[in-house]
């Protein structure tokens, strides 16, 4: 029996994430939602979701001691970060007047800005909400198996990731500017979009994560 821990620190869309994982999990995989560090560390893989303001997410992560757990997880087994659960893995975010993050991936989280425009000069709404294509910078990555290049995924965010090293970027998207939407580094895979809300493409990515052996 294999287990996947969905890390609960009070700030995630845990139901959606766990139901989507259960939907794609085989009979030998158990999905558990837990905030217990010991239990998280018994799992074969972990998922770090996150929605809402990053200041609150980081505060809850620290309060529950999840920062240490996440460090331990990525040193020993795979971690999938989703949305704010991806952003907190970076060094720093501009949101809420500036928030220090976990620093597991080198890079920053920046604001789209109030005056975002497309290539034709039309004003773009913020948050970036809806289905945008993701270009696969590294199409051979196991998590893209069965997912078309430029397949659309569901996004909802006002802040985006910009990582320090191109080598970490597995997928990119564009919304007024180009930004990093899928990051891969050793045991970490992290996405800005919501695979659990991205219909067939999202489910495929989650299934790939469950099979992934980095």
């Amino acid at each position: 029996m294999k287990t996947v821990a969905v890390i609960d620190y009070g700030m995630g869309n845990l139901h959606s994430v766990s139901k989507a994982l259960e939907h794609v999990a085989d009979a030998n995989t158990r999905v558990m939602v837990t905030s217990d560090p010991e239990q998280i560390l018994t799992a074969d893989k972990a998922v770090l979701p996150g929605v809402g303001a990053i200041r609150d997410c980081m505060a809850e992560i620290l309060r529950h001691g999840i920062d240490e757990v996440v460090r331990e997880v990525v040193a020993t087994r795979p971690l999938l970060g989703i949305c704010v659960g991806m952003q907190v893995l970076l060094d720093h975010s501009e949101e809420n007047g500036g928030v220090e993050c976990l620093g597991l991936l080198s890079g920053d989280v920046k604001f789209f800005g109030k005056e975002l425009r497309d290539s034709e000069g039309a004003r773009l709404k913020v948050p970036h909400m809806g289905w945008s294509p993701v270009s696969q910078v590294e199409p051979s990555h196991p998590l893209w198996q069965g997912v078309d290049d430029n397949a659309r995924f569901y996004f909802v965010h006002s802040y985006y990731a910009h990582v320090a090293s191109e080598a970490m970027v597995v997928g990119r998207s564009e919304y007024g500017l180009g930004f990093d939407v899928a990051l891969g580094h050793e045991n970490i895979f992290a996405v800005q979009f919501h695979p659990e809300k991205s219909a067939a493409n999202g489910l495929q990515l989650l299934e790939n994560y469950l099979k992934w052996k980095p």
């Binding site: 497309d118 809806g130 909802v156 999202g202």
Partner: protein, 257 residues
């Protein structure tokens, strides 16, 4: 390629059943919201909006259970509206698996509720529903007011100013229903849709009045909406979602197809 415009079918649900049912071929139970949502998901709907019109208190448990079932089987964004009056109501729906909640009348009488909700759960899950009706007379400058009670009660609040206020309080999206048009199928009120969409910087969903595919196109092109919501044109089999997407896409609108 960039961000796609969205098509959002809306289900009116009472005591766990879709009101008036849905006319799909080969559907097992056209009154089961979960079955209907699953079919829309398969057809390529971009989101689902679930409007709970259950009046009784006991019926709310049925609603929560329905949302739970839907969120376990349908993996696209799900918005739940109707009867969201307290922070607790939002928590219950989000825990049941909703991605967003739509706040309506409660916001009119207590706008601080929107702020409290956005602070607590994040703007990304707070949709403010606005029911607007044109109040200016022919020849006057266009003006729309917020109405409550299904369009019967005027509030004296200017719709565009109200939308801006909701954005400032933390709304993440506006669901704009033009009351003159709702159910009449003459198309969305493009004037108010455009006025609000161009004033706020958050996404706007056009609702109320879609009767054919040109109306959807107009809602996006003329109304500048980011998404179009429709019920009966899809429920009664007049058009399918793929048909609507192709039609819009052929007219230069970026869609997820």
């Amino acid at each position: 390629m960039g961000l796609a415009k969205r098509i959002i079918p809306c289900l009116d649900v009472e005591n766990g059943r879709v009101v008036k049912g849905v006319q799909f071929v080969d559907i097992r139970d056209a009154g089961d919201p979960v079955e209907v949502a699953r079919r829309y998901n398969e057809a390529g709907a971009d989101e689902i909006t679930f409007l709970d019109i259950t009046a009784s208190h006991e019926g709310r448990d049925t609603t929560v259970h329905t949302v739970e079932r839907m969120a376990s089987e349908v993996f696209i964004p799900l918005t739940v509206g109707g009867g969201i009056r307290k922070v607790e109501d939002i928590r219950t729906m989000l825990n049941a698996g909703a991605d967003k909640v739509s706040i309506n009348t409660a916001a009119v009488f207590n706008p601080e509720f929107v702020q409290e909700a956005a602070d607590r759960f994040g703007s990304q899950c707070i949709v403010v529903a606005i029911d607007a009706k044109k109040v200016s007379k022919p020849g006057e400058q266009d003006r729309w007011e917020i109405f409550t009670h299904g369009g019967r009660k005027p509030t004296g609040l200017d719709a565009v100013e109200w939308a801006l206020k909701m954005e400032n309080l933390g709304a993440g999206e506006i669901l704009l229903t033009s009351m003159d048009q709702d159910g009449v199928k003459n198309g969305y009120d493009l004037g108010v849709t455009r006025a609000i969409s161009e004033s706020v910087s958050i996404p706007v969903i056009a609702s109320g009045g879609a009767g054919n595919l040109d109306h959807l196109v107009d809602g996006i092109k003329e109304g500048k909406a980011d998404a179009v919501l429709a019920a009966s044109i899809f429920h009664f089999g007049q058009y399918s979602i793929p048909e609507a997407k192709k039609y819009m896409s052929d007219r230069g609108i970026e869609m997820r197809v």
